[in-house]
């Protein structure tokens, strides 16, 4: 009885280890964490060290801690360049219906805008536009491409 329970526990631990390690290798190799792109490919820069975009999980508009760090850098940059206005473009991947994706893109762009505003950037300096799934940055049909396309991009207007 005790032996049996012990054996079970050991087996469970072994299983858990296998599953966890499988997960972590998958994440590392693909530049995706959870469902969110974490790589540098496709990223452009507003200025040195200030990435122009943040990435989202499927159907989500919540900001990851990495996204928030990027947006804080953007806020900092916008504070230093007081005459600069930006447009935030919201995008979705191709795995959703067109109309819903337009709404989702708008929600993502606003999530980024709201965060910039909490760091003191006036909403008047930020306009928002959603392109839904109409302007993929990576045209491939693959999980990596989709994760690169689920994004909001801050673009200088002037």
């Amino acid at each position: 009885m005790t032996l049996n329970t012990n054996l079970k526990n050991i087996l469970l631990v072994i299983f858990a280890t296998i599953i966890l390690s499988a997960c972590s290798t998958a994440k590392k190799s693909a530049d995706i964490e959870g469902d969110v792109y974490t790589g540098k490919e496709t990223v452009e820069y507003l200025a040195s060290g200030v990435p122009d975009r943040v990435f989202f999980a499927t159907n989500k508009s919540s900001l990851t801690s990495a996204s928030r760090a990027t947006l804080r850098k953007q806020a900092n940059y916008l504070r230093k360049n007081k005459n600069l206005n930006v447009t935030i473009e919201g995008h979705a991947d191709e795995r959703g219906t067109r109309e819903f994706n337009l709404a989702l893109g708008e929600r993502r762009a606003n999530a980024a805008k709201d965060y910039l505003m909490t760091y003191g950037i006036s909403g008047k300096r930020i306009s928002v536009i959603s392109y839904g799934k109409e302007k993929p940055v990576n045209p491939k049909s693959s999980p990596i491409a989709w994760s690169q396309n689920r994004r909001s991009v801050t673009v200088k207007v002037n």
């Binding site: 159907n59 219906t97 109309e99 819903f100 337009l102 709404a103 606003n110 302007k135 045209p139 049909s141």
Partner: protein, 445 residues
């Protein structure tokens, strides 16, 4: 685009329907299509020339369009003309029924035409070969340049007589014509006859355009455009080309459709990350807010009586389909199946809602009853969405995209149709890649 029918449907006579022996059941997939012989229409030798129309071939060409229409339904099997046993003019007077039965035809279409004083006079008859009698006959006059529509109208009348339901051949499809690489797609509004003929482009491709939809009289189109980088719902008069923004919204408007009476446009308006559904009365310009929820509410579609609206919302967490009264009250979720649901479109018959379903990485086009019960998935693919109904509620047109490789290699978008029986899936012959189809109502009603 003007509908130039001078004299409409001068009906000869209809025989009592109860005598007819042949009928076509369209409520299920038809594995045994009705063999039908479509004789070339006899061209009267007194016919005069009209512009560059090839008059001698006109009777043959009209019959070919009718055959193509019939074949596309999957319900009819048009027989090869080389087996035909009588000359068109003689058959039109009175066919030798027993001879036509020998080539296994069950129905026969005959007709004749005359062009005189710049008018095209056409008559046709549908014969029941088994019962050896005429089933229907019709004569009408129109401008000769409308000859393709003549073929479609004849097809509609025969379809109606044999199935007991309205046809859908004298119709058009408006869609978005696509070209160029996937990252920089050029999109134009395009319109074509239901069979792919007469393609015309309504915009130049300078700005992104999406989701065109006809009004009930097919003269106006509402669509979304990124003109001047301001994504807004527009109204386009097809005949005059006049365009205007719908309403004065301080943000993106999208997903427009007309109300069944054509007086209002229902659409989504997105502001501060939240999309809600609004209507605008086109005459009074009064804007009404229909939904007020922090979720995404979009893809609204009226019921044909105008009393209800089906729409798409993620208020439960993921995209589902909801139905509400058209004033926004009484919101009820109707989809509870596995997966997520989008693009609800109410059938013109009122009994069904077509939708897109996403489940386990696949996309389905399906139909369900208006309370969400009786879900039937008609087609499964890598990516497809945006169904639009044929005016008789029997066929759906939608668009389908292929999987793209590196740099978008192998990507294409095409229009497809499928019967709500789940049978008869077909690719539509568009000149370019295509998406966002919207089917018109019958042009001559």
């Amino acid at each position: 685009m003007k509908i130039n029918f001078i004299a409409f449907f001068f009906i000869f006579f209809f025989l009592n329907k109860s005598y007819a022996l042949i009928e076509v059941d369209i409520t299920r997939g038809n594995l045994d299509p009705l063999p039908i012989a479509v004789s070339p229409l006899h061209v009267d030798i007194k016919s005069e020339n009209f512009k560059d129309l090839k008059i001698k071939e006109l009777g043959e060409n009209i019959s070919k369009i009718i055959e193509k229409n019939f074949k596309s339904t999957g319900l009819f099997n048009p027989l090869k003309k080389d087996a035909f046993v009588q000359k068109p003019d003689i058959a039109h007077l009175k066919p030798r029924f027993e001879d036509w039965r020998l080539i296994k035809a069950q129905a026969l279409v005959t007709g004749k035409l005359l062009i005189k004083n710049e008018k095209l006079k056409v008559e046709f008859r549908l014969w029941d070969l088994t019962a050896a009698q005429e089933m229907t006959a019709l004569a009408f006059t129109t401008t000769p340049s409308n000859w393709r529509r003549v073929a479609h109208i004849i097809s509609d009348k025969i379809y109606e007589r044999l199935t007991g339901e309205e046809g859908y051949f004298d119709t058009r499809i408006i869609y978005v014509s696509e070209s160029g690489p996937k990252e920089q797609r050029i999109k134009k509004l395009a319109i074509m006859d239901q069979d792919g003929a007469n393609t015309k482009y309504l915009t130049l491709g300078n700005e992104l355009v999406l989701t065109p939809r006809f009004n009930p009289t097919n003269q106006m189109v509402t669509y979304m455009s990124y003109f001047r980088n301001m994504p807004r719902v527009y109204l386009l008069d097809i005949e005059t080309g006049t365009q205007e923004v719908v309403g004065n919204f301080p943000g993106m408007t999208f997903a427009p459709r007309f109300s069944p009476d054509g007086k209002k446009i229902i659409m989504s308006f997105a502001k501060d990350g939240n999309s809600d559904i609004y209507t605008m009365d086109l005459e009074t310009r009064v804007v009404e807010r229909i939904t007020d929820h922090s979720s995404i509410d979009t893809s609204p579609s009226f019921s044909p009586d105008g009393k209800f609206v089906a729409f798409n919302s993620d208020r439960s967490g993921l995209q589902q389909i909801y139905v509400m009264r058209s004033d926004g009250s009484n919101v009820k979720r109707i989809t509870f199946g596995k997966g997520i649901y989008g693009t609800p479109v109410w059938s013109p018959r009122g009994d069904l809602i077509a939708f897109t379903k996403m489940h386990k990485g696949k996309f389905f086009i399906g139909v369900m009853r208006i309370d969400g019960s009786g879900e039937r998935l008609l087609t499964e693919n890598y990516y497809q969405e945006a169904p639009s109904w044929s005016p008789n509620g029997r066929v759906l047109v939608f668009y389908r995209e292929t999987k793209a490789g590196n740099k978008g290699a192998g990507f294409s978008a095409k229009l497809w149709s499928i019967d709500i029986t789940g049978y008869n899936e077909r690719k539509l012959p568009t000149k370019t890649d295509a998406s966002d189809p919207s089917w018109s109502s019958l042009l001559s009603k």
